[in-house]
């Protein structure tokens, strides 16, 4: 059955992939542009004997997930910017208590109520933690509907492996579009031999406690150092990225998600037309960020151009990775704007011929 291609909407593909990854608990609150995921789960969860709850708010949704995860279920939620902001409280608690969960942010334009157009402006929120405290969330940045599926399955895996939330940072385009996709077979995931730390019947074992409060002197410090160790391991083992035509490139683009789709087309277009030779680094994990590969590339490529649908957020990570070794320029869009292939090629040419790094923003007259 697997292997068969089907045409699926991004939002629904996440839902189906989650179910195949063994997710049996979903709580969410409607928000555009991710409603089809909530709606899909309302239909699908009862069919597989799982739980669907339309919560009264995003605050409630993430706290329901906190409970379900503590009881050992593969649990998830989803939303878009305004709702993810409300979920930050719960996410911080999940990290502090070392609970796994998966969630998707189908990003729309912000700040505030903003708009419902595709954007990447929640990059800082996602990759810096977003809530209070010293923590990290594993952030995956898909760029096709197929990757929404693959990274959703991976997200549940990583969350369980590291006992930490993992998320997809998508956007309105990825959530709303339909594209051919091959669903993986449902994995053999059985929640019944519960995670040995999970809450449940304590008969015949010592009691379990799931908590994020550590008041005794030194205990929080110790715990956070344990988290740091875990995050170091994630940084070592879980970095994922794609390189495209980088070897002989004169300018190397760095882009993720929807922006990377356009960047890739720009690489192909420019090469077909015998124009400037572009290459692309596409981070697939946004945290951990592919620092090393970018830093290595910067050693012998003088020009890097970051293309993003936000005002220089991933740009900062690239600057940190490059650390002055190369000229890093920026092509930024915001509030729902998308870069075009021609614009990328043009900006790359300008960046290459300029002595200093350039920053290009949308013109608004």
């Amino acid at each position: 059955m697997a292997q068969e291609r089907s045409l699926m909407k991004g939002n629904e593909a996440i839902g189906e992939a989650a179910i195949r990854a063994g997710c049996r608990f979903y709580a969410g609150y409607p928000i555009t542009p991710q409603n089809e995921l909530t709606e899909y789960m309302s239909r699908r969860m009862p069919e597989v004997g799982g739980t669907f709850i339309q919560s009264e708010s995003e605050l409630a949704a993430i706290n329901m997930v906190y409970g379900a995860a503590a009881a050992g279920a593969r649990a998830m939620t989803s939303s878009s910017g305004p709702g993810i902001s409300l979920k930050q409280e719960g996410i911080s608690y999940l990290c502090g208590a070392e609970l796994p969960c998966f969630y998707a942010n189908i990003v729309r334009g912000g700040p505030g109520l903003g708009n419902i157009a595709p954007a990447q402006s929640d990059y800082f929120q996602a990759t810096r933690g977003g809530g209070h405290g010293d923590y990290r969330v594993i952030v995956l940045g898909p760029s096709t509907v197929q990757e929404l599926v693959d990274l959703t399955m991976l997200g549940f895996e990583l969350a369980d492996r590291y006992r930490n939330p993992a998320m997809i940072l998508g956007d309105g385009i990825l959530g709303q579009m339909m594209e051919p996709v091959v669903m993986s077979d449902a994995i053999e995931y059985d929640a019944s031999p519960k995670k040995e730390w999970a809450l449940g019947s304590s008969e015949g074992r010592s009691k379990h406690l799931i908590t994020s409060v550590r008041l005794a002197p030194g205990t929080l410090e110790k715990h956070n150092m344990h988290l740091l160790e875990k995050y170091r391991k994630v940084e070592e083992d879980e970095v994922r990225y794609e390189l495209y035509e980088v070897d002989d490139a004169d300018v190397v683009l760095v882009a993720y998600g929807t922006a990377a789709r356009v960047a890739k087309a720009a690489v192909a277009m420019s090469r077909q037309n015998g124009g400037i030779k572009l290459g692309l680094v596409r981070p697939i994990t946004l945290w951990p960020f592919p620092k090393t590969v970018i830093s290595d590339i910067a050693k012998d490529k003088p020009d890097i151009l970051v293309v993003e649908m936000s005002l220089g957020q991933m740009y900062e990570d690239v600057l940190l990775s490059v650390c002055g070794k190369a000229k890093v320029s920026l092509l930024a869009h915001t509030g729902g704007g998308l870069p075009s292939e021609a614009e990328i090629v043009e900006t790359a040419k300008r960046a290459k011929s300029s002595n200093e790094a350039i920053e290009v923003y949308p013109s608004v007259d």
């Binding site: 045409l7 709303q176 579009m177 339909m178 594209e179 789709r261 890739k264 087309a265 720009a266």
Partner: protein, 178 residues
Amino acid sequence: MTTKLIMAGFGGQGVVLMGTLLSYSAMVQGKHTTFFPSYGAEMRGGTANCSVIVSDEEIPSPVVSVPDCVVAMNIASLGKFEGRVREGGVIFINSSLVDKHVSRKDVEEVRVPANEIAEELGASRAANMVMLGAVIKKTRAVELQSAINSLEKVLSERAMAYLDVNKKALERGFNEIP
């Protein structure tokens, strides 16, 4: 080859189904394809549109700002999208509902009496499929047969009763174009 289309009409004209079937047929033929609907508050006021891209190469963004073809199932859609078509592009007009002609000189106008043909077939709701048949013939984006074979995959259970008439509608629309 890459074909970028915008299909538009009012809610209930089956614009989304038209786009889905086209995209599905492209997938069956092993092509790259994307389908992108209008969503959210854009839909207030009862209009619907979708963008479809069919290509032999990977597709960058599924958003179509400058389409090769526009399908206008009603008059409002013609007004909204006429200006966006690329020079030398094609505008398909559902002439059963739209008397107006394209005002631009640098695009081709193809008029299809989609509702009339559908009514002849005894299923006025199949006007979308008549139009899609015509689009397929004119653009050669996919094979007619792929669309006919794919129909049962995209029709809702309720609409399966109309499978045959929808197939006929695709054929009739296809044959409308010389």
